[in-house]
Amino acid sequence: MSARARPRVLAYRRRATPLHAARAPVAAAYGGALATAALIVDHPLLLLALGIAVLGAAVAAGVGPELSRAARRSVIPMLLLTVLVNAIVSRGGLTVIARLGDWGVLGQVDVTLEAVVSGLVLGLRLLVVSLACLLVVCTANPDELLFALRRLSPHSALTATLTTRLIPVLGEDARRLAEAQRCRPDGGARGARGRIQVLSATVSGALERSLDVAAVLEMRGYGSARRVHRARAPRSRHDLAFGASAVGLIALALLAQLSPAGAFAAYPLLSMALTPATFALALLAPLIALAPFADRRGIEP
């Protein structure tokens, strides 16, 4: 059997970067802070700044291509769909930019500037939160995270372990099944029908596969009630730096949301603060997020 090709799906792989050198819970907290900050702030400029911060962090962590590929394939289409749906469905806003006439069930559809901007803000928030979550997937060691979860809730950890292991196994099954269909003399069923056939065969094999994975976990004593010991790695400079950055990002988001500098309202008319303080906050967000990457000491695995 030949060596398997590098996985195309997003997955954790230890790289020589400061974020990978931090412990998994710290890396997850850092990505989580970026996502939380994007959920707290409303101002488009600050959201844009957080977006730049996430992309900058992805590039600095060596996972920029993976994240941009995922963004192109799924997140940006979702963003565009959000803008479109919000523009058509939203009844708020006073600045009409297009009158689309009577759409039956939807009635008279007027597209307003406020609805478009509101949709863009929603979509931008979705983009930043999704990319921050993908950053966690690529930079936080899942084994360490599951270990941490296991201390809190053994049963949830068991379910999470089974699921995380089963997903790549089933993905590989589906890839092989699809390849086998191409080996049929007629090339197998194509399009949606072919995909449904492969999906159905993968799902029917899932039970068998999950039993195998569960059996292995059980034989390795995963279900035993004993307390699990693991050597605690000392806190590295990267743990401290990314931890501080996560706290800083949340503080900045709260400050922006509570201060007039972060004020934003889409309806009924667009209004947003564009003061020097707003620009200062927008500049600070990427700086706080990217500062820990400057220290590259001790990052080799």
Binding site: A3, P142, R176, C183, P185, D186, A215, M219, S224, R230
Partner: protein, 548 residues
């Protein structure tokens, strides 16, 4: 000290018509190295699962008798408790690894036993070093090759220092070199740490010399439980399909007792004056039928190729090159075997031949359709009935005429293989090339012989057959030409008798016993060669006559 004991164990899977295990009683002592063998479907894997506590805890069914592992009764102790005493490696290495890095995978078993952190780290390091996987510790498990997966699964089973190790065909995906290494690593651990080993293996010649005892199982019952020589004597009389090639060779010469390995076979032949102490001539002389036959292969023949690969490269983006200018030309009716170490590029080459992959450089041409049977026949099944998978004519051609109403996943390993072949060859343009990737995985010797005969028939009808395998004995039985692949390149290409007789790892047991004499590969050829010492004809001619 008894580490594993079966006491009158019977077991029936839920909904099954007959028992998978029937009144099985056996005991394994500390430090014993036991082989478990038998035909496909005889109950070997079920016995192993019962020893691991998975039967009946995971599979349900009806269980009678008792299994005790290190004193723990599997009826009252679950697989987790049994797992502390018995390390288990099941057949499919893909589902054997549950963590995302090798280090975490190895640590899992010892952490769960409640060992302190320092002991966990030490156990992981020691086991990795002992099994030669130190370099893999920080690799992601999703990036490992099949051979690496199997080594890591074995390490994960051994890391908690179990009293008994249970292994279900651990060498099935390994090349001959890696397979031999793994068996001897197991033997060393067994000798040094007194760990008992219970190993299921179809290719007995690979591990017979390391074994203390061989247990044969038939229809869920123990049919033979003796030392290797005793087992081979029993197999010679009762179950010839379970004999090793060395035992068959000496059996054909009416020499007893049967040898447990190459060393014993050579010593016995020397005692009988059939093998000289000097190294014999390893290659046939120029002008012999074999040397003449070699000129017919590939491009030199001038015959139009059924399949032709010209300078084929397969380079992964951000990764290594899997194929590096592979050159191969196969004529209609040729039976060609593709061999090489794990990761040499065999599966990738077959995928290129079938048009599933596009070369990054080079060209692939075929005179017609290329039917590809990949490693797992189950990947071809989409329906609930075998009859819905292929036409009645295709089923009949594959010898599955009466099985149209059976569920494909309920068929035996050999039947699944043939159903997948029926699917690949059903309807459309007839395949001019048939490519098969490791088709003998998990097959017993009888099923392999049937497959070899079926493939030779297809070749006889004019189909070019290209088959990738690690099974040297099967390659010798089936092919006329062998191609050796290394680092994505063809490094040797010639008659199977030449390529599989001169080496040590890529050589049949008969060839190793005879040290390549007369290019004899199979026991019948070897016996003919040795018996024919008084025959005036040249040895290669005798060998040519003996080959199927």
């Amino acid at each position: 000290m008894t580490v594993l004991e079966f006491d009158g164990v019977s077991f029936r899977y839920p909904g099954a018509a007959q028992d998978a295990l029937s009144d099985v009683s056996l005991s394994i002592e500390a430090g014993e190295f036991c082989l478990l063998t038998g035909l496909s479907g005889s109950g070997k894997s079920t016995l192993l699962r019962a020893a691991a506590g998975l039967v009946p805890h995971f599979h349900g069914g009806t269980f009678a008798g008792a299994v005790r592992v290190g004193g723990l009764d599997t009826r009252s102790s679950g697989p987790a408790e049994i797992g502390a005493l018995a390390g288990t490696v099941l057949q499919d290495p893909e589902t054997q690894l549950v963590m995302s890095t090798v280090r975490a995978e190895l640590a899992l078993a010892v952490e769960n036993r409640g060992l302190p952190a320092g002991a966990v780290a030490r156990s992981v390091e020691e086991t990795a070093l002992a099994l030669g996987i130190g370099g893999l510790l920080d690799r992601a498990t999703g990036e490992l090759s099949g051979g690496e997966l199997q080594r890591v699964a074995l390490a994960a089973a051994l890391v908690a220092r179990p009293r008994v190790v249970l292994l279900d065909e651990p060498t099935s995906q390994l090349d001959p070199v890696a397979g031999d290494e793994l068996i001897w690593q197991l033997r060393r651990l067994n000798q040094e740490s007194d760990t008992a080993v219970l190993l299921i293996e179809h290719r007995l010649e690979r591990c017979m010399a390391a074994a203390d005892r061989v247990i044969a199982i038939e229809d869920g019952r123990i049919a033979c439980d003796r030392d290797p020589r005793g087992f081979l004597e029993w197999a010679g009389a009762e179950r010839p399909e379970l004999q090793t090639p060395a035992a068959r060779l000496l059996g054909l010469l009416d020499i007893s007792p049967p040898p447990a390995g190459v060393k014993q076979a050579r010593a016995t032949l020397r005692r009988h004056g059939l093998l000289s102490a000097e190294r014999p001539e390893a290659r046939p002389a120029p002008g012999t039928p074999r040397a003449r036959r070699r000129r017919r292969f590939g491009r030199a023949s001038g015959v139009a190729a059924a399949l032709e690969l010209r300078g084929v490269w397969h380079e992964l983006r951000d990764g290594p090159a899997i194929l590096r200018g592979a050159e191969l030309s196969i004529c209609a009716g040729e039976a060609v075997v593709l061999m090489g170490r794990n990761g040499a590029g065999k599966s990738t080459l077959l995928r290129h031949a079938a048009g599933l992959l596009e070369p990054t450089r080079g060209t692939v041409r075929s005179s017609g359709r290329v039917g590809l049977l990949m490693q797992n026949p189950g990947d071809y099944f989409l329906h609930e009935r075998a009859g819905d998978e292929a036409s009645p004519a295709a089923l009949e051609r594959a010898g599955l005429a009466g099985m149209a109403d059976r569920h494909p996943r309920d068929l035996s390993g050999g039947e699944r293989q043939r159903l997948a072949l029926a699917i690949v060859l059903d309807g459309g343009e007839p395949a001019s090339v048939l490519a098969l990737d490791e088709p003998t995985r998990g097959m017993d010797r009888a099923a392999k012989s049937r497959l070899a005969a079926w493939l030779r028939e297809r070749a006889g009808e004019g189909t070019a057959v290209l088959l990738a395998t690690h099974d040297v004995e099967f390659a010798a039985e089936f092919a006329t030409r062998a191609v050796l692949l290394a680092e994505g390149r063809v490094i040797a290409d010639g008659p199977v008798a030449e390529l599989l007789s001169g080496g040590w790892y890529f050589a049949t047991e008969t060839a190793r016993i005879l040290d390549g004499a007369g290019a004899a590969l199979l026991p019948a050829e070897g016996a003919r060669l040795l018996r024919g010492t008084g025959d005036p004809r040249p040895l290669p001619e005798l060998i040519a006559e003996a080959r199927p």
